[in-house]
Symmetry: D2
Subunit: 503 residues, 4 copies
Amino acid sequence: MNKIITGEDYINSLKNRKLKVYLLGELIENIVEHPMIRPSINAVAETFDLALQEPALATAISPFTETRINRFLHIAQTRDDVVLQNKMQRRLGQLTGTCFQRCVGMDAFNALYSTTFEIDKKYNTDYHQKFKAFIANMQSQNFVIGGAMTDVKGDRSLAPHQQVDPDLFVHITKRTHEGVYITGAKAHQTGCLNSHWLLVMPTIRLTENDKDYAIVGAIPVDAEGITYIYGRQSCDTRSMEGGNIDVGNAQFGGQEAMVILDNVFIPNELIFMNGEYEFASMLVERFTCYHRRSYVCKSGVGDVLIGAAATIADFNGAEKASHIKDKLIEMTHLNETIFATGIAASYQSKPTLSGAFMPDDMLANVCKHHVTKMPYEISRLAQDLAGGIVVTLPSEKDFKSETVGHLLEKYLKGKAEVPTEHRIRILRLIENMTMGRNAVGYLTESMHGAGSPQAQRIQIARQMQIDFKKQLAKALAGIEKDKKKILVSEISDYFGRVFDVNV
Amino acid sequence: MNKIITGEDYINSLKNRKLKVYLLGELIENIVEHPMIRPSINAVAETFDLALQEPALATAISPFTETRINRFLHIAQTRDDVVLQNKMQRRLGQLTGTCFQRCVGMDAFNALYSTTFEIDKKYNTDYHQKFKAFIANMQSQNFVIGGAMTDVKGDRSLAPHQQVDPDLFVHITKRTHEGVYITGAKAHQTGCLNSHWLLVMPTIRLTENDKDYAIVGAIPVDAEGITYIYGRQSCDTRSMEGGNIDVGNAQFGGQEAMVILDNVFIPNELIFMNGEYEFASMLVERFTCYHRRSYVCKSGVGDVLIGAAATIADFNGAEKASHIKDKLIEMTHLNETIFATGIAASYQSKPTLSGAFMPDDMLANVCKHHVTKMPYEISRLAQDLAGGIVVTLPSEKDFKSETVGHLLEKYLKGKAEVPTEHRIRILRLIENMTMGRNAVGYLTESMHGAGSPQAQRIQIARQMQIDFKKQLAKALAGIEKDKKKILVSEISDYFGRVFDVNV
Amino acid sequence: MNKIITGEDYINSLKNRKLKVYLLGELIENIVEHPMIRPSINAVAETFDLALQEPALATAISPFTETRINRFLHIAQTRDDVVLQNKMQRRLGQLTGTCFQRCVGMDAFNALYSTTFEIDKKYNTDYHQKFKAFIANMQSQNFVIGGAMTDVKGDRSLAPHQQVDPDLFVHITKRTHEGVYITGAKAHQTGCLNSHWLLVMPTIRLTENDKDYAIVGAIPVDAEGITYIYGRQSCDTRSMEGGNIDVGNAQFGGQEAMVILDNVFIPNELIFMNGEYEFASMLVERFTCYHRRSYVCKSGVGDVLIGAAATIADFNGAEKASHIKDKLIEMTHLNETIFATGIAASYQSKPTLSGAFMPDDMLANVCKHHVTKMPYEISRLAQDLAGGIVVTLPSEKDFKSETVGHLLEKYLKGKAEVPTEHRIRILRLIENMTMGRNAVGYLTESMHGAGSPQAQRIQIARQMQIDFKKQLAKALAGIEKDKKKILVSEISDYFGRVFDVNV
Amino acid sequence: MNKIITGEDYINSLKNRKLKVYLLGELIENIVEHPMIRPSINAVAETFDLALQEPALATAISPFTETRINRFLHIAQTRDDVVLQNKMQRRLGQLTGTCFQRCVGMDAFNALYSTTFEIDKKYNTDYHQKFKAFIANMQSQNFVIGGAMTDVKGDRSLAPHQQVDPDLFVHITKRTHEGVYITGAKAHQTGCLNSHWLLVMPTIRLTENDKDYAIVGAIPVDAEGITYIYGRQSCDTRSMEGGNIDVGNAQFGGQEAMVILDNVFIPNELIFMNGEYEFASMLVERFTCYHRRSYVCKSGVGDVLIGAAATIADFNGAEKASHIKDKLIEMTHLNETIFATGIAASYQSKPTLSGAFMPDDMLANVCKHHVTKMPYEISRLAQDLAGGIVVTLPSEKDFKSETVGHLLEKYLKGKAEVPTEHRIRILRLIENMTMGRNAVGYLTESMHGAGSPQAQRIQIARQMQIDFKKQLAKALAGIEKDKKKILVSEISDYFGRVFDVNV
């Protein structure tokens, strides 16, 4: 296969693969042309086109190949690399109005890069070297990588090895000289069908008894033994109705599927962890650290929704009301908070032992935690500005109908100079983003992706250095008067990074 | 036609009417059997069945006919009548999980009852008498009444008579000895197809130049000249897919359509306002006063969603986590706030000149204003408890499929003792209520029904008696020391009701 | 002593008592004339004057004496009695801008009334009869009653009998034929010095080992063995500086003190529980049920603060800005939510076995829970409208100074027609209510009085009938299809009251 | 005078100045030893001591003198310089628990540096050169600079030249060959008495008629013609009572005074704007841009309050309750949001024409806007954790009293191993920060400093590029399909900075 360059190349690269994909109870022959799937492919294709149009933003020079590569395949060498991820993510959110599905792979790449380094350091293994070779290969082809982490989990109160059905977490079922075979299922796999390779990783902290679950490896999306079952989304079948209005955003959408692995083979050279169970938590935590601040993308999606809300206010002739303006300001304030907290995490990045840079984990969690709330409030305000018509609008077919189309044209007229269809299109976009297909990505995925709200609270609790803060209070309350002030260079963990003078 | 008694009678009463209804571009022959429409009919049918099962809650003795009638057709004779409306509304919200569409008619009946009384008092007209006759007739048949108020409005900055197209507000186009002809369109008409009669009313404050718009009258739903265009709802076509899982709530739904009136005739005896433009605002304000506190129904719907969220936590084995319990408490706290503020408005009812009781307008607005926010937060928390699976779940057809059904059965297993299908059903109910069909009623209708948030803020501002409060502050600040304390009996308006000792 | 009629009578009745009161390290001879204490006495005096001015609001006919008595001493005979408590409380909040300290006694009276009835029913004791006699006596004198519940508690993880120091909860130290002796301390005693009698009650659920702690009795405020230590409040000493501006609210304030009981005697006829430990929780829960919705008073205080904020906006010439108006609306919306949820609890009152009416416990908790947040937000908005000057204003002495007074007069001028002193007075009132003396009552007491926020969440959890709600959800999800609908008359607890058709 | 090095040097430098300072109606001879003033001096002294202990954090190399100087006197040469300001501010917030008063001068220095550069560029004046000389002089002495911007403003609806009294904004009253004389008053002057020099600046956008108001210059704090009137703070006189417990934070406090200028002379070489009225808005906007993100200091103060809340939970034995831990997490989440949004603004700094770096104005406003709310919520939660005792605690004098001290020791005991005095000290610190002296800085100054909430909303509105966002929405809605995608390098203003690839 030739190296993928353009979005079109990418779309072509997905054709003619032998995948077992089920959707609405049927086996899908051609995912590329399926109207329910295509918008999600288009969204990934934007990551290629952006790299061509904006190389400084969306590409980087690979330290492994010394060639220019897509930033989604790049290991962050500097703090600026981490920051530029966020900038690229916001721009892609603006251009697609949805999830462009390539961040999981990017964040998995970076997390695994430093984790394999540290496994090797401890065990003298060669995972890091093998992983670098894999990265270089992916970069040379410009492939899309899916990060397959979330297991289906079964009974949440039991560890992997304790489950009645051992397959409820992906695990090794057979070991040969050539490699291993794995079985299990990964849920909510964003963009999996649109990827070329999957990086399979454990999803939680593991113990010695879970050794067979401590497996990381790369498998091609069309590997033998994989079945994909496509997830339903709100209003998903509208894309099969033939029009392009009621879908709201005709071009772009997200994708999530369940990936079922039935004795899928991973050859030795593509195995990057194999039994080193104590590193599972490091991998998960580093992945979520990168990924939680990757939700800066939602500020780009938010830009679209704010724009849509402002547009419908214009079309309704209500744009000058002070409460309308005030709501747009509030939406912006919230949206920029997502951006600011995420990019602050990126700017506060520090190098790992491997040299790759990693964002600040506290601020990454603060960012993601806002993302579990603010898009919902932005969405609520967008519905406020839209008016009730956003949920009572007749169908595109009625608008196009010879019998009643003219009635709707007459009675849905807002401002004289605005075509009724434009008003309807913006309303359908708002519906799409607040309760339709892209609400899945903008809202519910914002809630649960990279960990549900409580996961962030736990991580914030771990890092909040409450003892350090108690010392501050006790000193000022006169309880501990004579303590010498601690030097900032002696402060560790989060506050060590806060007060790191090497900005 | 025989008097309608049961829900089944009601459903039968809707058959064989000659309506011009368009849905997805097609003329619908039989609305009763249409899978997209039927759930909304079922919801109205519940208002009949509840009256049979719970007469004390859902019926009353008519002062006009001295027979027992459905409470939705009753003019509130006492404060308790107003309170019992709320209790009935919450119960119906619990039983249907959606909008049961009969409140608009009830609230229009009550508002128009006292308004016609006051028009007659001023102009010596006979609207009130005619309206009482109409009410008695409706009661004797147990008909469903739709209140048709919201015009399409065109350019929001222009009065009705100023619009380029005069039809953008419903108005009289012709007057004869027998009655009047009206033209225009009413948007977002909740339950209109499911009604037997429509009460057409103006939607805003009118001035002398808008006299032709000051028309109130009753028309049968199947009157000549009416075209209905059915509104799309999120995920609406799922009800046409054949299953009963993916729809989430297979039995009940809401309904909103656009009603287009093309020279529809109203005979004199069914005209209840005709040119008395200065009473338009009284009618609108009284209607919204009743209707804003009718949103107590959403606390009943909220009960269902809280129950669904608690159930999925059980099914996931997460019910003991303190943060889960805390979120259920928060949802309850919010939900009961809706109930409490609404029922407080009802309890603080006062009689109008006509003798009919009307809720407290300040508290009704406080209630509705919470309704524009709290269901969104309850919904967000429900999605939090549901987990990401609520938006990535494969289709019912996949679950039922011979090829992959067993895989989903295996991998979507939660707690051992819970059937996988039950888990899926609850997840689909949560999807239905937070982004699917019933999210339309639970969220967006909560935002915009009975007036958008800003409408409540304006009404709160009108009633907040800021001068009275300034006096209180000035007295305590020592600015106005010598003022004698005002007697509570001398306090008027809202605080007059607050301090009314005749509880 | 003559029966107390007027506020002045009341103030006189406090003179010449032999109390051991410590304040700022000194024994106070004359609490009535002490400038730091007097404002709290004035606030209680208002409860007498209001009864004279507004008998319908602030008095009732005693069923025991058949004479007109102050409502604070009345046992609620009807739902309307409970509602009128709230109306009276809001009015007194408006008139004093602070805590008028008489609700604890009223709520303790009512809670103890029904609890003694139920103890007697079980044990055939005569507490209820004795308590009625005590009530009649208090009514005949129009005394002020303090309810002494909150123990100092020591180590929160230990039960009363487990504490190293047994005195950390009030308990019986000696029993004689004539009565019992008690020792311990009650913290945060609102208005205790301003009362004539204290009702001592346990503060938590007790077990068999805590029998000596299960003591309820009445003691005169000047009983032998009591020491009072007055609590400091923010800015308390300003009242000793001589002016009347910097204090903000010169006339009224709150009062809280610690009451230390050293072998204080209670004669048999004034003992209303003695060892029936299992009724301690009933007493506490009924008291908090009444008391949590008594915080409706804060909506009256909120009226003053909203008025002050509106006034300062006027004085600054900023009253027409849309954001100013919008903030006043928001403050009102929040303030009325407190009122509405509280009065809804009162309207939903039901009779206890004793015949006395008790508010709805769920709604009472919803009310109080809002009170732990909304006054803080109202206060924040008041500071927003006030401008920074509210915390940088020079002192009254500077304004009155010959040297610099004219400079302040010149430079603190706002609108030409408003005297500078008026502007300063309103600013000082806002300071008083948001961070000064009356912020203690308006904010922190709103947080912790009648139980801290978590106490309400626990009580809401107890009453939220989550299983009932799960059934609603399961029915609509199609999990439990064939269940017959439950009759509302078969629903118990909270929803039993919600759907009680005997409004 | 020798160069100031240590905090002690600084304190000495304030002695023996001839200032006219009024406080509580009296002329203060010695501000340094005045117990109400000294804590504010101590807070400034910390900025000197920190520079000694943490030179990398709190000093920089001056480009003008090439020597190491205090960072508060440094003109930001790089983005890192801007970021390090924030890091230093958070640390000082942690160490003092209050406002350390030196940021206004730092931010004024930086804003004026670039503004004078741009005035000179337009008018060929020499302000920039003169200002650099002034800076070098201040650096060589390590002086404290106060930025005097906020005029008293009089009638807010009138421009400076329209006021009845022309002195309500500071203006030139006389011009001579040697310089100018100015008259007027500056309100809310943080740390003015603790400064050595004041930079007088206009406070609003000016027009041609306001030319006499377009004056910027430096004056020594002890210049002839200045009168200072000290602002009262909540609980201010506690510092005069003799103890060190009830004050809460005995060592540190803030300071605000009114500065009245009566024909104060500014020599030509210290004039940095003189009539170039159109640059007033540039100066104000740049100053607020720096200053709004300087409120990152409040995250340091927040660290102390979170520590105090955690400590009191420990002392009460409540630290293990899940709701306690959850509230500490929430406080941290809010507190870190302040930090993250502020430091994001600093990291996104860009150079001005003068070469000095300036933060991102949108993000600076987002930061400050959060600061107007989040400290209030953190404060509310701290009061929640503290318990009601925080406002009912008896006085230090009672604790120390021979008569009742032992009773308080006994009854205020919490956990056995914690000295009662420690518990009291932490409670007093919480009172101090949430309603006492340092609440002035932590809350009300957070609300109004650097502009009240509405000022930030206006600035966010100016920068939100709503047309750009509308384009994004229209493109995705299919309204404007054929538009070529704009290059990020062609995007200007805020999004130009967002997408600037030169990180």
